[in-house]
Each structure stands twice: as structure tokens, then as C-alpha cells.
């Protein structure tokens, strides 16, 4: 059978960097191809060329054997290519139907045929099990639902080839599972799919074939049955990456205790009856699907919110009455969940972000001591391998992994007594995940008490000494890492912890 889509020796250069170097790919009807690579490997550039956003310097894209004119999104749409962007190309203030219909009719028609649009949308929803209320305002939908609208929009344009750019980056684990079920169903109905990812698990779960990109070149292509996660990781990074292994070490004395902790907002219990003890020199994992109370817990610990019930004490001192700077001064380091919104200010240079959290330490007589701040920033950049950064680099230009190293560095250099790490490796590629994990374990070995909030089972099992599950604002009893496996943790995350064997 001839391929539906061929990318033939695509080369694209931006200035001195070769973003794509003679990349060749093909896709058959009903295929699911995963494009695997680290951030910056050239995946997104390649897909933008496919979709006509960029014109390649050499090579061509063929759909059903016919070459597409380069740099013309409209031609790609007409040829049946649909793109599901990572940052959805949708408007929150418009309805689902309006979002889907934009640009699908002749622009100068005196009236838009919304009833035909409605029928077509309903037919597509039915066929692929992508339910969506056409009159709902898009901004009122959950992220998972919005992604379904983005997929429907591509299908509405009669796409036969769907390209999904990091589709699970914004989804919770159940939403991601549902997405992959939908994708398989779509492939079974004759659509061809490419999805971009740097997550080994999902590539192995959903793809038929896996193409690995590294440094702009296709370094390998494997059928799913003929490869392993370890091989793919090595191909992707270019060397064997091993996540660090946790060594057993005895925990120290308790530094942070919560008893009956509760937070009630707007008549809803965000947290209820939460008990835990965090000891020096250990990693306490809190695992759960996002939205089960992790964010309120992190806010309580960092002092941006006050508990409405129970006590929260660090070193015997109640956190309930302390301000955020007090808590930081007490020796609390924080790695916020949303690094780009809460962790750093992208418009400001690296050095300002490096000192922002502990400004009093870098001030003299009410003025910022720039020399000391700069020196500190350099120390962070060198000590934590923040690539592509000088103290004066605009922070927004750094990749996610390097931003995270900056945040880790500015906290860990000062040896915090407690480190609150919320989703520390979310969205990072394999190399950066390993680096972040190694740093966390080093801090643990030096006696820092680490509270790890994560929804990544592997991460929690790799790093934690003891694990709580968080479900609906309640915490399970802690279980020792050695006494659980994935299956049992999965049950705990679903709220079944009565028989989990608390310690």
C-alpha cells in the first residue's frame, strides 16, 4: 500500500542552527506514528513544515503522492492535514461551533450556514466519540474537552492526517488515557496520525511505529514490538541515561508536621483532616491525579493561604501565622508547580529571578546589591548547569528544563531545611528529568526534608522513602516505598487505601 504522507529529505536552517537535517518519514493509512525526541530535537519545526507554517530549505512534503506547495497552510489543510497544537489555536470567548467553523466557509458569503455546521459537527462527534456541546463557550470547558474541540476542528476540515503536538502535555492521566483510546479508534477508522512526544511511556502505549529525532536528524525508526523504553531513551538522548537510584538512608527527626489540616473555601473542603510528618533527610511523596488538593496544600505550606482547621508546624513553630517571607527565612525552599507563572518572571533576566525569592539577602540599605546578586546567579548557572544562560539572559528564552534547574539552584545552593517540590519534572525531557532527580536526591543526602508532590507514579516510586496518596483533599496514611508496587499505588490513588498497610 502506498503511503498517505511522505516527508522527503526535509532540511530547515535557522541562522546557524540546522533544525532539520534531511529528515525522511512516511505514514500509511491507519498508522499511528510517534515522533520522539527531546526538546529542541526539531520535532515541532518538522511538523510546522508539514503544515505549511514554514517553507523547508530543501526536500518536499507529499500527500497521496502529490507534492504540497511549501509554506502554504491553506494547501496543507486542503490536502487533508490537520494540526492539533500544543497551545490550542482556539478562542475561549467564542462557542465551540464558532471555533470549529472559523475559516471553513467562503469569507464573503452574506450569511454563515450554521445549521449545516451543526449537523457536520454532530456527525463527527458521534463517529469518533468526541462529545461536545456546540453552543458551549469554549472557555467554560476543561482542558481535555478543549483538546477534543481542537481535534474536531481538524476533522471538520476533512483531515485524513492528524498531527498532534505533545497532546498529553496539558492533560491529566485519565484524560490522556481517554485521548489515546480515541486516537486508536480514529486510526482503526482509516485516519493516519502522527503524535509528537518526549514521554517514553505514552509512545510505547499508543504508537505503532516510533521515529526518533535527535539534533535535527532522524536517528532511528522502530516498530513498537521491536524496541524497549531503555533503547528509545538512549536513542533520544544520544547516550545511556539512567535516572539516579535512591540509596537507603535513615531519616532524621521530624521537621514539618500537619495534624488535622483543613482548608475550606467557598463552602467546599479543598483539604480535610490531612495528617503527615516530614522528617529531615527523607523524601515524602504525595501522589495523586492533579486537582485533588495538591495545589491548596502547596499554598498552605508556602504561606499564601491559611488553614481553616488543624495545625501545621515547622520546627515546632506554627506556619499558620507566618508570612511568606518568614517561611522562606525559616528555611523553606519551593519549586512551584507552574514554573513559568509562579516560579520565574520570563520578562526579567536570570539574575533577577535568581535572587527574587530572597531579596533581603541580596540587599544593602534598601538597595539591591547587584554585584552579590550577579555572583549568586553565576553560581546557580554553573553549579546547576543552566544551559544557554548568562546572568543577563532574559529568563523567558530558556527551555523548561533550564528554567527548572535555575529554580532548583536558587533554592538548593542555600541548603534549605525543607524543600517543597511540586511536579518538579513535569514536561521535562529525559535528560533534564534525570538531572532534576539527581539534585533532589543529593539534597536529601545532605539532610533536606523534601515533600514531593507529583502525579507521575515512576517519579514518586523512584524518589520517595514514604508515600501518601491524595484523593479529594484527603491524605491516605503513609506507606513505606519498599512495601508498595505500581498496582497498589494505583489503587491508593483511586481512594482505596484501607488495606494498603500503613506504617
Amino acid at each position: 500500500m502506498s503511503p498517505v504522507l511522505e516527508l522527503d529529505a526535509i532540511t530547515k536552517r535557522f541562522g546557524d542552527t540546522l533544525a532539520n537535517d534531511a529528515v525522511t518519514l512516511d505514514l500509511g493509512r491507519g498508522d499511528i506514528l510517534a515522533l520522539l525526541g527531546e526538546n529542541g530535537a526539531g520535532k515541532t519545526t518538522l511538523m510546522n513544515i508539514l503544515f505549511g507554517h514554514y517553507a523547508p530549505d530543501a526536500g518536499e512534503v507529499r500527500v497521496m503522492g502529490r507534492a504540497l506547495p511549501p509554506g502554504r497552510p491553506m494547501a496543507a489543510i486542503r490536502a487533508g492535514i490537520g494540526m492539533v497544537h500544543q497551545h490550542f489555536a482556539l478562542a475561549p470567548n467564542l462557542t465551540v461551533l464558532e471555533n470549529v467553523m472559523t475559516g471553513t466557509e467562503r469569507l464573503w458569503r452574506p450569511v454563515s450556514d450554521t445549521s449545516a455546521g451543526r449537523r457536520k459537527l454532530a456527525a463527527l462527534s458521534d463517529r469518533f466519540g468526541l462529545g461536545a456541546d456546540p453552543d458551549a463557550r469554549l472557555g467554560d470547558l476543561s482542558v481535555g474537552e478543549q483538546q477534543r474541540v481542537e481535534i474536531l476542528k481538524a476533522l471538520y476540515n476533512d483531515a485524513r492526517i492528524l498531527v498532534l503536538d505533545e497532546p498529553t502535555a496539558v492533560l491529566t492521566t485519565p484524560e490522556a488515557k481517554r485521548l489515546f483510546a480515541t486516537l486508536k479508534d480514529m486510526a482503526a477508522q482509516g485516519l493516519s496520525l502522527i503524535f509528537i512526544s518526549h514521554k517514553l511511556d505514552e509512545v510505547m502505549a499508543a504508537a505503532d511505529r516510533i521515529a526518533v529525532l535527535r539534533g535535527g536528524r532522524k536517528v532511528a525508526e522502530r516498530l513498537r514490538g521491536q524496541t524497549t523504553k531503555a533503547e528509545l531513551a538512549e536513542l533520544m538522548v544520544g547516550r545511556a541515561v539512567a535516572r539516579p537510584v535512591r540509596q537507603m538512608s535513615p531519616a532524621g527527626s521530624p521537621v514539618l508536621t500537619a495534624r488535622g489540616l483543613g482548608l475550606r473555601q467557598g463552602g467546599v473542603d479543598r483539604l480535610k483532616g490531612v495528617d503527615f510528618t516530614l522528617n529531615a533527610g527523607e523524601v515524602l511523596g504525595i501522589v495523586g491525579v492533579a486537582g485533588n488538593g495538591q495545589a491548596p496544600l502547596a499554598r498552605l505550606l508556602s504561606g499564601t493561604e491559611r488553614p481553616t482547621a488543624g495545625t501545621l508546624e515547622a520546627f515546632g513553630q506554627s506556619l499558620g501565622s507566618l508570612s511568606v517571607p518568614d517561611i522562606v527565612a525559616l528555611g523553606m525552599g519551593r519549586i512551584p508547580e507552574d514554573r513559568n507563572h509562579e516560579g520565574v518572571i520570563g520578562e526579567m533576566p536570570v539574575w533577577e529571578n535568581a535572587v527574587l525569592e530572597r531579596l533581603p539577602l541580596f540587599s544593602r540599605r534598601g538597595l539591591v546589591d547587584r554585584r552579590r546578586a550577579m555572583a549568586f546567579a553565576r553560581q546557580v548557572i554553573e553549579g546547576f548547569d543552566v544551559r544557554g544562560a548568562t546572568p543577563r539572559t532574559r529568563t523567558g528564552l530558556l527551555s523548561g528544563g533550564n528554567v527548572q534547574k535555575l529554580i532548583l539552584g536558587r533554592n538548593l545552593i542555600r541548603h534549605p531545611r525543607i524543600l517543597l517540590a511540586a511536579q518538579p519534572a513535569r514536561g521535562l525531557d529525559e535528560g533534564a528529568v534525570a538531572a532534576v532527580h539527581r539534585r533532589l536526591l543529593e539534597a536529601r543526602a545532605q539532610g533536606t526534608a523534601i515533600l514531593l508532590i507529583s502525579e507521575d507514579l515512576d517519579e514518586v516510586m523512584d524518589l520517595s522513602d514514604r508515600i501518601h496518596a491524595i484523593v479529594g483533599g484527603r491524605l491516605s496514611p503513609a506507606v513505606a516505598r519498599d512495601r508498595v508496587d505500581r498496582q497498589r499505588l494505583g489503587l491508593m490513588m483511586a481512594g482505596e487505601w484501607e488495606n494498603a498497610g500503613a506504617v
Binding site: A91, P92, N93, E98, N99, G103, R106, L107, W108
Partner: protein, 314 residues
């Protein structure tokens, strides 16, 4: 109290409301169109002034009244193109570009006026639009003199409000314009150029503003005075927010503001002796601020308003 009732019962008040509203309707529609595509146009005050001047000047030099309107529209379109060039193509701050256009267009209007019109004791006059006699309707008691003694541009402005409402909410083009104001990347992803949409909307919107200005010299009055726009442009910007970016509500808002204005003019004469007239002048603005405070909090601002669009960047 009887004074107030007498004012409300006079056909003259309602005729004045429509007359005062016309430039506001046109200006608000123009601004609304720009903002729906994601471009704030603070050039409005200057563009209205320039439209008032150039339309009048054309008629003063022998053109007919509709040609005067057309000349004003073209001048507005030209300023719109400049604003689009600066904000869409060059990505300059929309505030700065708009204020620059207002300062430039107002001064340039005055300069041209001084250059081309002989200095005289009283400003020179033209023969403005005359009220349109509509068979039957104009002869109705009360309703006739209250609503159907307007000039053609007033009826046109109301028709334009309905037309713009239709275009924005019923046609594929309108959807593309609204989407451009919400998320230009989505428009691009559907194969439409958000740059072209913004150029079109800003140019057409600015033309409407200039026509609103020209109404002042070609219909409401008969001569040009450099300060005659008197902040109407800024009122239009507030009215766009008041109207939640909807043409129908914009029409309503302009009429409401005009009602306050016409009412206070008559109150001045009725109660003139007892209260300083400046208090009445303030009234429409005070009431608009109150109305804005009530309605604008619910308004859904176009998400991409004031955000320059660059391809491939987010």
C-alpha cells in the same frame, strides 16, 4: 419636577437625542470594528477632527455633501492604514501609535484649515444636510417631529449599526474578524491571514470614525471649529466597553449618552438661574461612568486586544 416632565414631553428633546447620537454611533461602530479585530484605536479623537475638517473643506470648495462624506471616509481610511502599519506590521504599542495619530491628525486638521481657509471674524459656513422628509412618518403627531426630522446621515448611522451587527455575528467574515481579536494564531491555522483581517478592520473602522466627525460639520453645524469634537472620540471608546463590543448595544449606549446630553442642555435653560451650568455639562459623563461601572465588569474583552501578532510566536 414639572419642568423635567415638560422637557421629556417635548419632541425637540428626542429629535436632539438622535442628532447628538449620530457622531457617537459612527465613532463607536468604527472603534468597535477595530477592537473586535484586536486593535485599540486611540487615533479616534484626531481622526474625527480631521474628518470634520476635510469633509467640510471639500464642500466649502464646491463638492456636494455626499462627496464631502466620502472624502472624510477616505481620509479616515488613510489614517487607519497608518495605524495598521505601525501596530500590525511593525508591532508598535497600540496606545502610543493611537495617541500619536490623535495629536497629529488634530493639529494637521487645524493647520490645513488655517492654510486653506481665509481668516475671517466669523467662521465661514456651508449649506449642511437638510432634514429628510419621510412620507407619512414625518407627518405623524409627536412621533414625526421627534423621530423623523433627521438628516440622511443619521438614518445611515442606525442602518450601519444593524449592518455591522449582522456582519459580525452572522457571516463567515465576521467570525474571522472576531476570531482575530480573540486568537490570531487560530485564524492563521485555518488559513486566513490575521494581518489582512486587522488591516481591513482598522481601515474600515477609521473611515467610520471620520464620517462621524464629518457629521458635525456637514449636518449638526455648518462650519468647522478646531476643538469641536470635544472628547467625543474618548466617549466612543468608553461606549465600546459599555456595549461589550456589540453593535446593537453600541447603538443603545450612544442613544443613552445623547439622551443625557440633550436633557442636560434643556435643564440648563430650565434651572439655569439656580445651579451653575457646568454641573449639567458634567452630568452625561458622570452617568456614563456609573453605567460603565455597572455593565463593564461583565464584559468579555477580546482576548487578543492590544497584542501584536507575530507569525510563529506565542
Amino acid at each position: 419636577m414639572t419642568d423635567i416632565l415638560a422637557i421629556l414631553a417635548s419632541a425637540g428633546l428626542w429629535a436632539a437625542v438622535l442628532r447628538i447620537a449620530t457622531p457617537l454611533i459612527l465613532g463607536t461602530l468604527g472603534e468597535l470594528l477595530c477592537e473586535r479585530a484586536g486593535v485599540l484605536n486611540l487615533g479616534i479623537e484626531g481622526i474625527m477632527t480631521f474628518g470634520a475638517m476635510i469633509g467640510w473643506l471639500a464642500v466649502f470648495n464646491g463638492a456636494d455633501l455626499w462627496t464631502g462624506i466620502l472624502v472624510a471616509a477616505l481620509s479616515g481610511a488613510a489614517f487607519g492604514l497608518v495605524h495598521a502599519l505601525l501596530t500590525v506590521t511593525l508591532g508598535v504599542s497600540q496606545h502610543v501609535s493611537g495617541l500619536g495619530i490623535t495629536l497629529f491628525a488634530s493639529s494637521f486638521a487645524y493647520y490645513l484649515f488655517r492654510l486653506l481657509v481665509p481668516v475671517a471674524g466669523t467662521p465661514p459656513k456651508i449649506l449642511p444636510f437638510q432634514p429628510l422628509q419621510i412620507p407619512v412618518l414625518s407627518d405623524l403627531p409627536f412621533i414625526g417631529p421627534a423621530l423623523f426630522t433627521q438628516t440622511a446621515p443619521t438614518y445611515l448611522s442606525i442602518a450601519l449599526a444593524l449592518l455591522l451587527g449582522w456582519v459580525l455575528f452572522r457571516t463567515p467574515l465576521g467570525l474571522a474578524i472576531r476570531m482575530t481579536g480573540e486568537n490570531p494564531h487560530a485564524v492563521e491555522a485555518q488559513g486566513i491571514s490575521p494581518v489582512l483581517v486587522r488591516y481591513g478592520a482598522v481601515t474600515a473602522g477609521s473611515a467610520l470614525m471620520a464620517v462621524g466627525g464629518a457629521f458635525l460639520t456637514l449636518s449638526a453645524f455648518d462650519s468647522f471649529i478646531p476643538t469641536m469634537v470635544q472628547g467625543r472620540g474618548w466617549v466612543c471608546i468608553a461606549l465600546v466597553v459599555f456595549a461589550s463590543w456589540r453593535p446593537g448595544l453600541a447603538l443603545l449606549g450612544a442613544l443613552l449618552f445623547a439622551f443625557f446630553d440633550a436633557f442636560q442642555l434643556r435643564l440648563q435653560t430650565a434651572l439655569g438661574g439656580q445651579v451653575p451650568y457646568q454641573l449639567f455639562l458634567m452630568l452625561p459623563y458622570l452617568l456614563s461612568i456609573a453605567a460603565l461601572a455597572v455593565t463593564a465588569r461583565r464584559a468579555r474583552v477580546p482576548q487578543a486586544l492590544m497584542q501584536p501578532y507575530r507569525r510563529g510566536e506565542r
